[in-house]
Amino acid sequence: MATYTPTTLRDGIGRGHEPPLPPSGGGGDGRGGNVPDYGARLRRARLGLICAIVTVCMVFIALTSAYIVRQGMPTFDDASNSYIHDWGRVALPWMLLAINTLVLLVSSVTMELARRSVARQAALAPVKSIPGVSLGDERSFPWLGMTVLLGFGFLAGQWLAWGELHNRGFYVNTNPSSSFAFLLTVTHAVHLGGGMIALLWAASASLLHQPLESRRITVDVTAWYWHFMAVLWIYIFALLGLAK
């Protein structure tokens, strides 16, 4: 029977092959992801989350570019028969927004504590499963529930901020500045709402007696998304500051 060795084939140019792998070991960077163990699932979920974050970034990059372009754009004014800037101003309720920012940042901390708590539980689960082994007081603070409350608090605060804008006479179509203020904050709130749904799902996971590993993965990716939402909000907060 004839034999062949791919490494010595012809000139090797444009072959698209690499040296053969040992049949027993595999290797390369193909991870053999067909076995959905916990580590693989977590890695996969985090990879998916990175993609989702990239997408959200692109949404806000587009809005930011529109913001910058629109802010600097002159428009023709009939009255003066010349080009003017009509960006206008919006009297944002800065104190309320600052409180909301604080609430969101605290929620990010509680979310991180929740993530670490679940990770610790997952890490200790094998030890606790040994008959007769006790790790002492196993009650932990309900950080996840705290984050849900703070998340609702932030959204409620944003709702109040939009109401306050209306009270001050600024609507979405008042001027470009107010248009972008509503646009950016509402778009962020919608994305944060997605995070809230994930949070509620993660919080209900324990009530639904889902496996600890599944819970940890849900909490982990939700936590990273939540941190991203906090960073994104600070970015928007700073961007709106430029509109003053």
Partner: protein
């Protein structure tokens, strides 16, 4: 070589609904995308047929439809472009074949997130229904073209179809963006994380590379279109002025002020140009796969092909301004966009050269998939060569908004991508349905379609150079275009024949599905992983085992091997193993 799988991705469904409707199986979802695109392409083709008929017989009264009014023509044009770009060229190559084939080609039991995969299909379906609903609302479908330029697209009273029809159009596009983003996320994660042992990135079939890069483009591009669409909806419905300057419509001064239609153009084309590559890259991948398989030769310059696709994707994000040369753009910006656009010619030429190099001195088997792959190369060159013309701002002054432009993009991203879809259909049909398609019908379909395509689109270049504008519903009474009527008539007849020929494909498709001869597991004697498994593949793709990869994807004509190809899973004989 295979190893046992300890845990399946998800259990095989039992009931009809979970098996065929709300299925988590990537193969079923791939077929759902494929059939959605099949209905869409026939709707899109029918609309183009009506347009062609109207162009040469503008007063003709058609059965059921009646006389096509100018606004109806614009609605046909808008919906033709939108349905074809989004629900055919984006949906079939990536959602259809990518979904079905990618997990199998990398040795995975399914996509990374099966539930998300199902969700992305049904979101696409919802977008499709919302888009079609625009035909049936008061005022009908919108008039603003697939590019949706404001002010026309941003003012509800701008014309029939710009009311609820346009809102549905934008909503549909926004929903489609969400669906595409979910799909892109899944494709990227699957490719990076679910490859079988030994399937290094440089052992991926070029099809997988093309789907992977397309997914990255989608991930970066659709979010921008989504943002642009939200701004457009706000302008239309909440009185903002992102895109609308002070404007008088139908004698009425609108309340908007200070916005710029150019802002939409920038955002739209930042998505729109990568979208061209989203449509064409999977065709490039499948062409590479098929040319190598049917030439019985390794792909020429595998790594160069990968880097070329990456370059095309990269440059694709830097050239959107070439769609806007006539928008008052600074000549310096136009120069930069022009140079960057022509840079894309380099990786494109590398790919073309490598395709020819792959076929050179090959033992070519002229089966239908191969014919379509060669047809793809032909159309890619024919359509691509007019690209550098349009990339010149000076030439674009003459050619912009003439028939030269639809001639160019129909060849390069329309029909070339369609040829990629046909090639993929004829190539993977045996694997997907377990039967062979009829070769004679396939070849007739190919030759009529190829000739018809050239008959339709090559003369359009001349129409454009002669000054025939695009988008105008009626030109038969324009004095300087009178001499072009015979050429236009010829194009319409060619379109009728080419569209009629597509029924050969449909008959072949459905007849072969049920009556075609049974296919073996590897009827084309190909090397990639989908050909190592049963036909059609079982629920978990590899029947309880997972493959281990030892070779590159295109090992044909291997000296010393017992046959002229080496499968990716074949153990490397010799070398101490």
């Amino acid at each position: 070589m295979a190893t046992p799988v300890t845990v399946p991705a998800h259990a095989a469904p039992q009931g009809f609904i979970r098996k065929y409707i709300f299925s988590l199986d990537h193969k079923v979802i791939g077929l759902q995308y494929f059939f959605l695109a099949l209905t869409a392409v026939f709707i899109g083709m029918f609309l183009s047929l009506l347009m062609r008929i109207h162009m040469i017989w503008p007063t003709a009264v058609l059965p059921v439809i009646g006389e096509i009014k100018p606004e109806t023509y614009l609605a046909l044009m808008t919906m033709h472009g939108t349905i074809m770009v989004f629900f055919v060229l984006t949906t079939a190559p990536q959602g259809g074949f990518g979904n079905y084939i990618l997990p199998i080609q990398i040795g995975a039991p399914d996509m990374a997130f099966p539930v998300l995969n199902m969700l992305s299909f049904w979101t696409t379906f919802l977008a499709y229904m919302v888009m079609l609903a625009a035909f049936f609302v008061v005022g009908g479908a919108p008039l603003h073209g697939w590019t949706g330029y404001p002010p026309l697209s941003a003012v509800q009273s701008a014309g029939p179809g710009e009311g609820l029809g346009a809102d549905l159009w934008i909503t549909s596009i926004a929903i489609f963006c969400l669906a595409s983003l979910m799909g892109a996320l899944n494709f990227i994660t699957t490719t990076l994380d679910l490859r079988a042992k030994g399937m290094t990135m440089m052992r991926l079939p070029l099809t997988v590379w093309s789907w992977f890069i397309t997914a990255i483009l989608g991930l970066l591009a659709f979010g921008v279109l989504l943002s642009a669409g939200i701004l457009l909806l706000l302008d239309r419905n909440l009185g903002t002025s992102f895109y609308l300057p002070q404007i008088v419509v139908n004698g009425q001064l609108m309340l908007h002020k200070g916005g710029s239609p150019l802002l939409w153009q920038h955002l739209f084309w930042f998505f729109g140009h990568p979208e061209v590559y989203i449509a064409i890259l999977p065709g490039m991948g499948v062409t590479s796969q098929i040319l190598s398989t049917f030439s019985r030769k390794p792909i020429f310059g595998y790594k160069a092909m990968v880097y070329a696709m990456v370059s095309i994707g990269f440059f694709g994000f830097m050239v959107w301004g070439h769609h806007m040369f006539m928008s008052g753009m600074s000549p310096y910006s136009a120069f930069a966009f022009s140079i960057l656009t022509m840079c894309i010619g380099v990786p494109s030429a590398i790919k073309t050269f490598n395709w020819l190099g792959t076929m050179w001195k090959g033992h070519i088997r002229f089966h239908t998939p191969m014919l379509y792959a060669i047809g793809f190369v032909s159309l890619f060159v024919s359509g691509g060569l007019s690209g550098p013309f349009l990339a010149q701002p000076v030439l674009d002054i003459q050619l912009h908004d003439t028939a030269f432009v639809p001639a160019h993009f129909h060849l390069i991203m329309g029909v070339a991508a369609i040829f990629g879809i046909f090639a993929a259909t004829y190539y993977w049909f045996p694997k997907m349905f377990g039967r062979m398609m009829n070769e004679t019908l396939g070849q007739i379909h190919f030759f009529v379609t190829l000739a018809g395509t050239y008959a339709i689109f090559m003369p359009m270049h001349y129409l454009g150079m002669a000054g025939q504008t695009r988008r105008y519903s009626q030109f038969t009474e324009v004095a300087y275009l009178q001499k072009l009527i015979p050429l236009n008539t010829f194009i319409t007849y060619a379109a009728i024949i080419t569209i009629a020929a597509q029924f050969i494909f449909v008959i072949n498709l459905f007849w072969s599905m049920f009556k075609g001869p049974k296919a073996s597991d590897n009827p084309w004697e190909a090397t990639t992983l989908e050909w190592t498994t049963a036909t059609p593949p079982p629920h978990d793709n590899f029947g309880g085992v997972t493959p281990v990869v030892h070779n590159g994807p295109y090992e044909y004509g291997v000296p010393g091997a017992t046959r002229d190809y080496v499968m990716q899973t074949d153990a490397a004989v010799g070398g101490g193993h």
